[in-house]
Symmetry: C2
Amino acid sequence: MANQKNREIRLKSRPVGLPTTDNFELVETAVPTPGAGQVLVRNSYISVDPYMRGRMVDRKSYVPPFQIGETLQGGAIGQVVASVDNSKLKAGDYVQSMNGWREWFVSNGNDLQKLEPAAELPAYLGALGMPGLTAYAGLLRIGALKDGERVFVSAASGAVGSIVCQIAKAKGCYVVGSAGSAEKVAYLKEIGCDRAINYKAADDLNAAVGTAFPEGIDVYFENVGGAHLEAALNHMRPGGRIPLCGMIDMYNATEPPPGPRNLAMAIGLGLTLRGFIVSSHADMLPDFHRDMAKWAKEGKMRWRETVVDGVENAPKAFIGLFSGENIGKMVVRVGPDKAV
Amino acid sequence: MANQKNREIRLKSRPVGLPTTDNFELVETAVPTPGAGQVLVRNSYISVDPYMRGRMVDRKSYVPPFQIGETLQGGAIGQVVASVDNSKLKAGDYVQSMNGWREWFVSNGNDLQKLEPAAELPAYLGALGMPGLTAYAGLLRIGALKDGERVFVSAASGAVGSIVCQIAKAKGCYVVGSAGSAEKVAYLKEIGCDRAINYKAADDLNAAVGTAFPEGIDVYFENVGGAHLEAALNHMRPGGRIPLCGMIDMYNATEPPPGPRNLAMAIGLGLTLRGFIVSSHADMLPDFHRDMAKWAKEGKMRWRETVVDGVENAPKAFIGLFSGENIGKMVVRVGPDKAV
């Protein structure tokens, strides 16, 4: 490792509007040397997620903003390469951390979760990780889904949306997903959606949603905001629920876009719109793992990743989230994969 | 009664924008004669409420639209003048009904609730009636208010808002109301609000809300929509709740106004926005009556009405709701008051 270099991505400047690669900086450093009790970890996969855009803005939020010049943070899966008498981790162990956007790091182990991979590594950044739990908690707890209901999902082919669709199908629901290309629509059919809307090809999203839901929507899983939320509101059933998971349509807006003009429909219909972040629902992890394993075994749960190679391409992968370049979870391979 | 005439208000045309008196028609008819088993009722007070504006539009909603040429409907308190062997009601009984906007009517009694008035009659159209229950259910069930929380109320001097403020105070909360005149602000102080905002005098509503809530808002009781909702969202605490009771700001809009630009704040803060209508919460009536009697006895609950005289002035009273001409409940006196 003496000759090896670590490469990492730092925030060079705060993006205005859609981020560009100029907002990021690739920096080469020495691979750090673990001290007593520490481990040296080589990352295999790192995560890029839409929520990270919010952390690039300098404002008070539920997670503190990234600082200019600092290495970016995010989910990562890696392997311990050396352990200097760390009491819990030894060389060869797989670990999950928030030390993404870099190839190597050292840690005393307190910020690492040991992983016993039973699936391909990137799944732990997607379906079996934070986005999967987001789908699970958002649909079942926040959305209070009941078996057999009518479910609409935006950004349905994404990391969270594609799991939402399949959980709802596993619960016997009628499920319609919206996505932005013919390829994605085909994927939604593959994973069991009853119908799929290509919103980029639809002349009138509101009409398309109405056609897909002749009896209305019980749960709209909100990942997008804007026209999707307005269209969904127009077709909600009395007592309907709208888990607010993300509003990717506005993350890069330089002027805050207007909200839905028809929010007052929530009054007469008794609708609930409820925002949430996954970290508030960590108590659901055991149920989540149990159910996902069961559904996967029954052939009811599939996932895929869009894999970009090389830490130097992490900014491009991140930026690509906002033009929908991923199907399933977007991850960046930054090191050796699991030896299977 | 043979020589007496009944006067009633019919919908003449559907309002576009703010209703005008031309949308209504005063019609004189004979006082109807009760048949076998029926009662003849003389109304004393009738209710005008913002929600009625929605029923003047020809669209599917939670209550069917008013029809052109029909007598308008709404809450009313009256007295039985004659009973032709009705099994439950006799002359002199006070009754509550939805047969408002008229002076006289006959009924078989099935659509009437007998009233044993323990307060002045108009209170049963306001604090002790539908608006009072709206406040109670909206704040305690929909808003899930906890003792000692921080509560913001818009249209706070109105029929619903003024009761919301006092329930919150009875629960030991910090309460700030917003209203549209110095007189209303003085009334809010009278009924115990910790602070009151005159939104018409405030240069910057958002800043005024921020100043009033240095520690943020736990529950925002929404009666108004528009700038009030946006300002409240900017100052909500994590886990905050927003019962959506009304959005009077948009009831007369000919073009639907944009929604709040900052709805995405609900995600990170885990906010719940929940619409409701009072008729879904009739099961709370016994608790409501018990608590209101207790609070009134303890001096913690007061109310007032803005009384307009004469059924011919009901349209003007109704239209006045939208320019805030009422403090407390707006009612129209259309017949003899209770003989006290």
